[in-house]
Amino acid sequence: MRSFLKPLLTIAAMAVGMTAVVPMPAWALVELNVNKGNVEPLPIAITDFQGGDALGAQISQIVTADLKRSGLFAPIDKSAFIEKITNPDAAPRFEDWKVINAQALVTGSVSKEADGRIRAQYRLWDTFAGQQMAGEQFFANDANQRRVAHIIADAIYERLTGEKGYFDTRVVFIDESGAKNARKKRLAIMDQDGANVRYLSDGKSIVLTPRFSPNRQEITYMSYESGQPRVYLLQIETGQRELVGNFPGMTFAPRFSPDGQKVIMSLLRDDGNSNIFAMDLRSRSTTRLTNSIAIDTSPSYSPDGSKVVFTSDRGGRAQIYVMGADGSGQTRISFGDGVYSTPVWSPRGDLIAFTKQTGGEFQIGVMKTDGSGERILSSGFQQEGPTWAPNGRVLMFFRDSAGGPKLVSVDLTGRNEQSIPTANFASDPAWSPLLE
């Protein structure tokens, strides 16, 4: 039942070599430009993978859903297909695909190996150039069927956009059920598309703000289980939990450092204010980074670990500040009209995502790391808590409406909002790094 996080020794990739891959610029078919107006999604035909009974169609379906949700691709309805692919290794009749305006075509096959593993292979064709663009094959055990499809979708996304994909990833979040004034909250984990949900806590205590370790095997979160709210670590695989530090008061708002060696968090002072501390998980030594008579919280490291962005109300109302990882040079960077919180540094290092409250609305936006270039991606009555996809092009957050929160993703253009299906209400999403 926990096999999904074991190292995937069974997945191996190799190029399917027969046709020479013609080198072409990565941006040849899809251009990613967040500042450009409408990005026209690329029409793509994804055929059912041959063989493997229903599995072939299922893989094609997952790849199609992934690419469609990215907003960059417009998968063509299968009923429009003219050529019926019978040999996925042979060149298709490109004319048949050009006629339905499929600029890219995906063919593939899936089969069972003698040892029980699944072998899946795909080929990506540029129909207008009449050439194969990419081809790979993967081996996986039964439990990883969906992962194979996500890995293929990532490969196609990367080949066509020049950016890393983000489909073979997971999300930890808080599953919420019950009435608003008696909400049951459980730690949960799922694939980025909402599949394979697993619960990691029993709902007896309030749990909040889970975040992935860069090694993907561990999360840090906050729980009320001891009475006083405190930060914990949880090994996803073994279920082993441990308290992070032994502080007298509340600890909250935890996140890992990019190297996974530290947890940075807020610690409540006796005077009722909160300051930011980093704790080294090996030596257990703690370093105080802020010492203000204010609320300092929601710290998030830059991907190189040299800086920390955080929320503080030291200037009166909550705003976003940046400091060195040792607490030096604390500088306010948000100056817009409103209250700013939940800053999260992009894994690419170029942007900071945030929640902004202004005019009775909650907005999700991004700004450059010096605070300039603010762009609002989504506005709503109640929404907060962005988390970055590992490629830094998509954000997920939660929006409260119709009685409870649900998860929503939006890309950096702000135009492609997608709801993430969850069985119950869901909040506090945190995106994993790409799986390996």
């Binding site: 009435a179 608003k180 909040l208 703000t209 509340m250 409540l268 009722g272 609320i295 919180s341 808590g385």
Partner: protein, 168 residues
């Protein structure tokens, strides 16, 4: 209905709400304590009991949006609380700090903590021994009022003084 839902976490308040419903005279005013509702004449609560504290003194105070200052009405309530707590010294006290939903989760945890601390400090200044007082923040995790407008948010921005059983 929002108000009734708002109070269901507190059994004493449930009883009061039931009484109100029977009387058919739901007050427009935020019920702060039974004293405010003119129901303390019933004499149901034994002096010095937890019920006495909740019903006759008022166990909670309210805050302005994104504020941790103790309002004038809250000072009156807390002064009453301090007097009662100084009279009945057998109780240990936990002050819960809460925020409304119009803030982000982590910031509101900090805000609730600060409200609880401000309440604690006021009680200490009024002579309640600091050693009897603990605080906890629930941020916006435990709303008592669940509508999506100002009438509910104002009830959720609160600090609740709870008696954690007769202490030593």
């Amino acid at each position: 209905m929002g108000r009734i839902a708002a109070l269901t976490r507190n059994p004493v308040m449930i009883a009061l709400v039931a009484m109100l419903a029977i009387a058919g005279c739901a007050s427009k005013k935020t019920p702060n304590s039974a004293a405010d509702l003119g129901l303390n004449g019933a004499g149901a609560a034994t002096p010095g009991s937890a019920q006495d504290f909740t019903v006759n003194i008022g166990d909670r105070i309210f805050f302005d949006t994104d504020s941790t200052s103790i309002r004038a009405d809250a000072q009156t309530t807390l002064s009453r609380q301090a007097q009662w707590l100084n009279q009945y010294k057998q109780y240990a006290i936990v002050i819960e700090g809460h925020a409304d939903e119009r803030g982000t989760r982590e910031y509101n945890l900090a805000l609730g903590a600060r409200r609880a601390a401000a309440t604690r400090d006021f009680l200490v200044a009024k002579g309640v021994s600091a050693s009897r007082l603990k605080t906890i923040s629930y941020g916006k995790e435990r709303p008592v009022a669940v509508c999506d407008d100002i009438s509910c948010w104002s009830q959720n921005r609160r600090a609740v003084t709870t008696l954690s059983g007769a202490g030593s």
